[in-house]
């Protein structure tokens, strides 16, 4: 596809998309918020600030912070995830 053909193909595709979707009329910015329903799969999250704290005084002198004696295994919701038909993990630890 040469440059000219590509340009026309892209422009035609864009015009066609405008014509065949609900975007045809110019929309004010505040209306655009709802438009994500028209495209992709909208995922609903909890819209609060995830990272905020980190200034806690949670430490004690007895906490074990040594990472060299690693023996923990993933034990959260990953056990309900299904990978290639197997529950939990892709391969044994």
């Amino acid at each position: 596809m040469n440059r000219q053909t590509l340009a026309l193909a892209l422009a035609g595709s864009l015009v066609s998309a405008f014509a065949t979707t609900a975007y045809a009329a110019p929309l004010p910015a505040e209306k655009m918020v709802g438009m994500e329903k028209c495209y992709g799969i909208a995922l609903k999250g909890q819209n609060d600030c995830a990272a905020g704290a980190g200034t806690t005084c949670a430490g004690t002198s007895t906490m074990d912070y040594q990472a060299n004696a690693w023996k923990a295994v993933p034990a959260g919701t990953c056990t309900s995830m299904e990978v290639n038909g197997h529950m939990g993990m892709l391969k044994p630890m």
Binding site: A29, G45, C49, G59, W70, A75, S80, N84
Partner: protein, 253 residues
Amino acid sequence: MDQSAFAAALLDPSLPLPAGVTCARGEPDATRFSVYRNNVVASLSRALGERFPVVRRLVGDEFFNGMARAFLTVSLPRSPLIFAYGDTFPDFVAGFAPAAALPYLADTARLEANWTRAYHAADATPLPVERLLAIAPERLAGIRLLLHPAVALARSDFAIGTIWQAHQAEVVGSVIVAASESVLVTRPTFDVRVHVVPPADGVFADSVLRGETLGEAAATAFARHPDFDFGHALLGLASLGAFADSPLQGDPA
């Protein structure tokens, strides 16, 4: 007091108590330093846990805290803004051997990092979609659209959007993760939006976000997905708020 020795001893309990850490009577005070050392570790671990709540739930608190401690010994905050801590955590997770059995974990962390970055990104007015129609057809292929400050894409061989969504609920059910997903994060106004976009559009968006022209990005997407619909993809990305409003300049070819 030697600050570098103090800083080194904070993260390595095998190092001796830094000189000058004493109680009121002037004797070395190992217990107090230990409390301080643990506060550093505990607070940074907690900050990571709050930035990566889905990863934390996936692996459980014990595993997450251990992983966080391993991370912070190699990557301390580089910014006084605690919400920026953990930008490199997804890469660390990808190389963290004890988590190798969870191949979707690092990409899930990338999505969560994108979410927080979008939340704190600068405000910008999204490009009104009808402006796209005003671009002269012959210039369309050469254009690089200005990206919105909040936009980010995470592409994965696994269903990270579905995983993320499942963890917004209190109870997480079974999720089939062996499905590739491209997840776009935007914040057109105040709320962060998370979307799973079609695979071909994910290829296109990835190219556009890496600074390619619309023509280059379209060619990349066509090559991988012959049924790629350029107009629908561009219109979709713009409507989600991927681009910022700006004068539209053609590439000076």
